[in-house]
């Protein structure tokens, strides 16, 4: 292991951006900054997808999360929080919760360290048509069910925000 490959450098760059964005999003007392850091996190995860040979998933991540969910969160924040300052975003139990979260993360890391993982194979050529065939071939029932779920979610959201019936 002499000079790291460019893909490795990019991988760790995106990993650092994702972890940093997530940490800032979770700890910042200002919700706007929290949401913007969440956007940085989402973009970094999209970069990781791209490096893991999942280009289409990276594209969908950008479209759905950065373009949809993030804007939805900004709208929800604008419509709900009336300039209310957040002196402390941490509850009384935050030390215990922190210990628990660190413990869970450390347990997974130790387990991963001790598990022998197979070597990464080279991805097959023509990945996107494989993905399309898998999505509309073997997994078409789940695909359609997710469509039904999306419809139900849209109706639920509309009913929830419709307001009082006259």
């Amino acid at each position: 292991m002499s000079i790291p490959a460019p893909a490795d450098i990019l991988f760790w760059f995106f990993a650092a951006a994702a972890v940093g964005g997530a940490a800032y999003a979770v700890t910042s007392a200002h919700l706007i900054r929290s949401i913007l850091a969440f956007g940085a996190f989402l973009t970094a995860v999209a970069g990781e997808y791209y490096l893991l040979a999942a280009e289409f998933v990276a594209l969908v991540q950008i479209f759905v999360y950065v373009g949809g969910v993030l804007v939805l969160m900004l709208f929800a924040l604008m419509l709900s929080t009336p300039g209310e300052s957040q002196p402390s975003s941490l509850g009384r139990w935050s030390p215990a919760v922190g210990v628990t979260a660190v413990g869970v993360g450390a347990a997974i890391m130790i387990a991963a360290w001790h598990t022998p993982l197979p070597v990464v194979k080279e991805p097959a050529a023509g990945r996107l048509d494989h993905l399309g065939q898998a999505l509309l071939g073997d997994h078409v029932v789940v695909f359609e069910l997710v469509g039904v779920l999306l419809f139900a979610a849209v109706v639920t959201a509309l009913v929830a925000v419709r307001g009082e019936r006259r």
Partner: protein
Amino acid sequence: MTGVVFVTSLLLALGAYGALTRRNAVAVVISLEIMMNAANLNLVAFSRLHTPELMTGQVFALLAIAVGACEAAVGLALILAVYRRYGTTDLDRINLLRG
């Protein structure tokens, strides 16, 4: 490859910490989405590792992204409904069901 698992477990721990400590409901939704993204990243990584030609992990990740979008939409709609009724999104002050 172990690096991916390291990063995702770190992200999962961060998301769990945020979901349990944040008081604003929007911040809790953000933390949940962070955890969901960590799980998705693991799916894609292990798909690359085991059967890259079957694409099962990527298909699952795409469907999970759709489900995550549903979750965010419904969650934020509920937050707006709660805000209209109580005038706050502070989870410590929404305590009608507390005995």
